[in-house]
Amino acid sequence: MPMIHMTVNGKAVKGHAEPRTLLVEFIRDTLRLTGTHVGCDTSQCGACVVHVDGHAIKSCTTLAVACEGAHVTTIEGLAHGTDLHPMQEAFREHHGLQCGYCTPGMIMSAVDMVNRKGHELSEHTIREELEGNICRCTGYHNIVKAVAAGAKAMQGMAKAAE
């Protein structure tokens, strides 16, 4: 089995994987980072969204071997110790989750959305951009509110870091 190397949440990692091993399987089963979920395994629900080289992708529809040398960020890579990332905090504050199954993918998608579209996101933009993320609990309303608030709060984060 090939040995695969990646940088995951800032740390160099390696592990064996068959060519047919999915990125999500490598993340969950080999690296034991179980925050990334599998909701459908048919590329529709977005529970498995992670960032690869800075872009949100569905890790159930990507081979682990294809990410050799890549920089991967999972939901575990957002918080600093016990300080939640502003987008995580916004989901908590605005009740953007019920069972929480879809939440890691929602948050990774939301952060990617802010990276591409900025901090002022209209409700319409957020709803369009969440096309690839399915939630069976919330009815989306509070997710949309959380993303809008989290996007604004991330601006503060960028300023604080300067």
């Binding site: 060519p19 999915l22 569905k58 294809a66 959305m113």
Partner: protein, 264 residues
């Protein structure tokens, strides 16, 4: 998934050699191929991943043609300043494929090679009269699409680029299936001098096709008004659980008018 070997060659020559091996399959964005492998509907021995072949990526303007590498992602085409300036309809089409995550991985080459009867890109390639460039030859769009999931590509032949005429007026409108975002009906219209080409996806029982009655109506008068009352016969149009042939045929007229209205 069944087992397979995997290679990520760094040059086109190496990729062509590997793709020529028995039961090899090209891997682009994987957003059609990986779901197919998961369902065990295909069992290649070898996947040849094109991501490391640099020359297959990106958009360039050359001699009045917009040249797009086969491995260029939908997100890249949607955001490209060159595509937005010279073929805004094509950028808008790419921006409407699937969802952001699909657009970050899926490629124009994979979409056109796959020729899904509900995919968006084939309509643009056909209406814009693009040329499909492979490792072996150049193929005109009219000779490329051969019916559902069928193309003129030979076994192991790799699409390297697409060449689109830059700066002509064109537009796209799709009625997406609300669940999958694939086209229930999508229509791409393009003005070629006093002629027009109109290509329809999502509706044809044989995949993408040109709507000759609509092309005739737009000849010399490229306006939504010229399409008023014009329709496409329901023969040869798909019927399935999502929409019957009569409804799809009606939608073709509606989407064609919207596409012309959106064209610039």
């Amino acid at each position: 998934m069944y087992e397979f070997d995997y290679h990520r060659p760094g040059t086109l020559d190496a990729a062509v050699k590997l793709a020529g091996e028995a039961d090899a399959k090209i891997l682009a964005g994987g957003h059609t191929l990986i779901p197919t492998l998961k369902q065990r509907l295909a069992a290649p021995k070898l996947l040849v991943d094109l991501h490391a072949v640099r020359e297959l990526q990106g958009v360039h303007l050359k001699d009045g043609q917009l040249v797009i590498g086969a491995m260029t992602t939908h997100a890249h085409v949607a955001d490209s300043a060159l595509v937005k300036a010279h073929l805004p309809g094509l950028a808008a089409l790419a921006a409407g494929i699937g969802d952001p995550h699909v657009r970050h991985r899926g490629t124009i080459g994979g979409s056109v090679a796959n020729n899904d009867p509900a995919a968006d890109y084939p309509s643009a390639v056909l209406a814009l009269n693009a040329t499909i460039i492979t490792n072996k030859r150049s193929i005109k769009a009219d000779d490329f699409f051969k019916g559902m999931f069928e193309t003129a590509l030979a076994e192991g032949e790799i699409i390297t680029h697409f060449s689109f005429p830059a700066g002509i007026k064109s537009g796209y409108a799709k009625f997406p299936n609300p669940a999958s975002r694939y086209a229930l009906v999508g229509v791409y219209v393009a003005q070629h001098g006093s002629d027009a080409r109109v290509a329809v996806t999502g509706a044809g029982a044989n995949g993408v096709f040109r709507a000759s009655t609509l092309e005739a109506a737009l000849k010399g008068n490229f306006s939504a008004a010229a399409l008023e009352g014009k329709s496409v016969p329901a023969d040869g149009i798909n019927s399935d659980m999502h929409a019957d042939a009569a409804y799809r045929a009606h939608l073709i007229g509606v989407m064609a008018r919207r596409a012309v209205a959106a064209a610039h």
